[in-house]
């Protein structure tokens, strides 16, 4: 849909032949089959499951196909705090990731242009965390930030933390984990747009007596908008559905569970498949709505 607007800025749509060729359709077939089998079918199945009703005299985990739309009302009343919390956490993590990533990407993509070797090296450093499973990295943070760790005891020693306070298992730890894990997804798209930033525009702006802050606000940011949009989407969407950071086995606690954890508990422990499916559909729809509003506002119009 609207994504195409910034995904293929350089393609020459006008030159695409208009006639439908059978070869093109044939080439598309594997892709279409793939989508039908592995996206559309599970999606329809999920939708039907979300309307299932418990079987009569059924035991745990036994449901029959029905049109029980009350499932949706039920999960929203039961889990509204988790839904709001998920999007709140994702939003905070996205903003934090943007704040950390923008200067970093600017430095790598603009300031370091003079030293190509250093530039590549820094890019490798940004990607380097991917060499290790993110589960392991998250677990490592859990150890680093544990109560008796150097960091936490030091913070307590200088009275930046209350003596009986702790970090792991709190909402702050979950937001920290989300921000940390998604920073590369923010940095890389920002880097690709900033790397192509034409510095002559900035010079022209200062020649016209624009204050550096004005130059940044009115020239640099608008020019790097595609990177910001792509980066925030790549961070916000997976962060809202993430269930690893908030898992009680990782950085979360009972008061920081996100919607992904609720879905997991309903699916695996409670065998309440309709509730899990309804929550998944809600998560998907809300993300789709938020993202399309965002792309429409930031992506297609302000970009032009």
């Amino acid at each position: 849909m609207a994504f195409a607007a910034f995904a293929t800025t350089t393609s020459e749509a006008e030159q695409v032949p208009r006639r439908k060729s059978p070869v093109a359709l044939l080439l598309l077939l594997p892709g279409i089959l793939y989508l039908v089998l592995f996206f559309l079918t599970p999606l329809v199945s999920l939708l039907l499951t979300s309307f299932q009703a418990p079987s009569e005299f059924g035991d745990i985990g036994q449901y029959t196909y029905a049109f029980r739309w009350e499932n949706y009302v039920q999960v929203v009343t039961d889990y509204l705090p988790h839904i709001l919390r998920s999007f709140g956490f994702a939003l905070i993590a996205t903003v934090l990731a943007l704040v950390f990533s923008y200067p970093l990407a600017y430095f790598i993509g603009v300031t370091a242009r003079r030293w190509p070797l250093a530039q590549s090296l820094m890019l490798v450093l940004v990607i380097a965390p991917f060499f290790i499973s993110f589960l392991l990295r998250t677990l490592a943070w859990k150890q680093i930030l544990s109560d008796e760790s150097f960091i936490i005891t030091s913070l307590k020693a200088v009275a930046l933390m209350a003596p009986d306070a702790h970090f792991t298992g709190t909402p702050a730890a979950v937001i920290f984990g989300l921000t940390y894990n998604f920073i590369p997804f923010m940095t890389l798209p920002l880097y690709t747009t900033l790397e192509r930033l034409d510095l002559r525009y900035l010079e022209a702006a200062s020649d016209l007596y624009a204050h550096p802050v004005e130059v940044f606000r009115k020239v640099t940011i608008p020019l790097s908008m595609p990177g910001i949009v792509a980066g925030t989407l790549l961070t916000f969407i997976p962060a809202a559905g993430d269930y690893v950071n908030a898992s009680r086995d990782f950085l979360g606690g009972p008061d920081s569970q996100m919607i992904g954890n609720v879905i997991e508990a309903n699916f695996l422990v409670l065998q309440n498949y309709p509730a899990a499916a309804a929550l998944s559909i809600i998560l998907m729809s809300v993300i789709l709505i938020i993202v399309s509003i965002y792309v429409k506002r930031a992506g297609t119009e302000e970009l032009l």
Partner: protein, 403 residues
């Protein structure tokens, strides 16, 4: 609707047209939905009704093999990664065993195999060891095969207290593999005075440093026992809800730091938690690997006792081989050999005497070979009906999810 005029820049015009063309038309959407529904109709054919599946025909005589799914670190292993007792079994009977550490959680394992079980198909294992309540569910649903006790003469060595359990009268469908206690453990260095009861876990001085298990029957069992409820006996919603209120308060007050499954050990090691409700066998192992730092006790008011049990899934074609395997592990000498490695409680009578010969210190470990006084303090959580299980699980999960 009047379209807005396009900007003058040709490149941008092109972009906008491209974006407009890409918009999803109503017809495309309907076509897509139709294709999806058709594909689903195919998928739906495979889900059977609620009828109980039939046991598969036994091919044990022709195929001398067993596939056994079990939990991690739950059998003797030598340095080369072989399983000495299993190798001896193969030598003795000619039955080859493919042993897989495929179970790391009752619920996730069940999630993986439940659809095949419902259809009576093979789940890729001829036997699997699961915890009492999950075995109870499998039996209730008719997902297990009845064992022929004539093929398991050594079953006479089964602990008398485990012979008749609520979920499997007469042990027709299941046989215990290993068991353990849930009790209280504390960090000896930080809490030299120790912890004797669940009540002491709620001491304000330990705020935020307490852990409890995400296994509903163990955590709730200990809290109910602390309130004086006989968890094996006849209790109902009132007793359960009173315990739920206790846990809810401790969690929302921040007294309980976290509610975890197997990973609670990390919290004990990094001292996020100083005392916790835990499983006995883990503490033996934890002390062996991380310095002798923790103590474990079954509280005076009672701890829970659970077992993991062999079952033969409905689709298995090697039931008789499995019966032979069970018979082999109910030989006290073999049971002692396993117990020496896994640190859990063996259900085999006579294993303690056999262990005495291997290692007297081991035989006197209360957590591996408990005496009658310890066993008297351990209680089995009563079997729940399907409806109770759903209700109580939901109440417990809502605390885990903080709602």
């Amino acid at each position: 609707m009047k379209p807005r005029p396009l900007p003058a820049d040709p490149m941008i015009q092109q972009l906008i047209r491209q974006a407009q063309r890409a918009q999803l038309g109503r017809r495309t959407l309907l076509t897509g939905a139709g294709a999806g529904a058709a594909a689903l109709a195919l998928a739906a054919c495979s889900t059977g009704g609620a009828a109980k599946p039939k046991a598969a025909a036994d091919k044990s005589a022709a195929e001398k093999s067993i596939r056994w799914d079990n939990w991690a670190l739950y059998i003797d292993v030598d340095d080369a990664g072989n399983y000495p007792t299993l190798d001896a079994f193969t030598k003795k009977t000619g039955i080859k065993v493919k042993y897989t550490e495929a179970v790391d959680d009752n619920n996730t394992y069940y999630g993986k195999v439940k659809d095949q079980l419902a259809l009576g198909r093979d789940i890729g294992a001829d036997t699997v060891c699961l915890t009492d309540w999950m075995v109870g569910r499998l039996i209730r649903f008719g997902y297990t095969q009845e064992l022929d006790h004539a093929n398991i003469p050594n079953l006479a060595n089964l602990q008398p207290s485990l012979k008749d359990v609520g979920f499997d009268k007469g042990r027709k469908m299941s046989v215990p593999w290993q068991g353990g206690f849930a009790g209280i453990c504390w960090n000896k260095e930080k809490l030299p005075n120790g912890i004797a009861s669940v009540e002491e876990l709620w001491d304000p001085k330990l705020k935020g440093r307490i852990g409890v298990l995400s296994e509903m029957r163990d955590t709730m069992g200990l809290i109910m026992l602390d309130a004086g409820v006989d968890i094996s006996g006849d209790w109902g919603d009132d007793e359960f809800n009173a315990a739920i209120d206790v846990l809810k308060k401790q969690v929302s007050d921040g007294q309980v730091r976290n509610i975890k499954g197997n990973s609670y050990k990390e919290d004990l090691i990094n001292e996020d938690t100083l005392a916790a409700i835990v499983w006995s066998g883990d503490i033996v192992q934890l002390n062996a690997e991380n310095g002798d730092k923790w103590d474990f006790v079954v509280p005076e008011k009672g701890g829970t006792l659970w077992n993991d049990n062999f079952v033969v899934p409905i689709g298995s074609t090697h039931k008789k081989n499995v019966e032979e395997l069970i018979n082999y592990y109910y030989d006290p000498a073999v049971a002692a050999e396993v117990a020496a490695y896994v640190n859990y409680i063996t259900p085999v009578v006579g294993a303690k005497e056999a262990a005495m010969a291997i290692d007297p210190e081991l035989a006197n470990n209360q957590l591996i070979f408990p005496d009658d006084a310890t066993l008297a303090k351990a209680h089995v959580f009563r079997t729940l009906t399907g409806a109770e299980e759903q209700k109580y699980d939901a109440a417990f999960q809502s605390i885990l999810l903080g709602s």
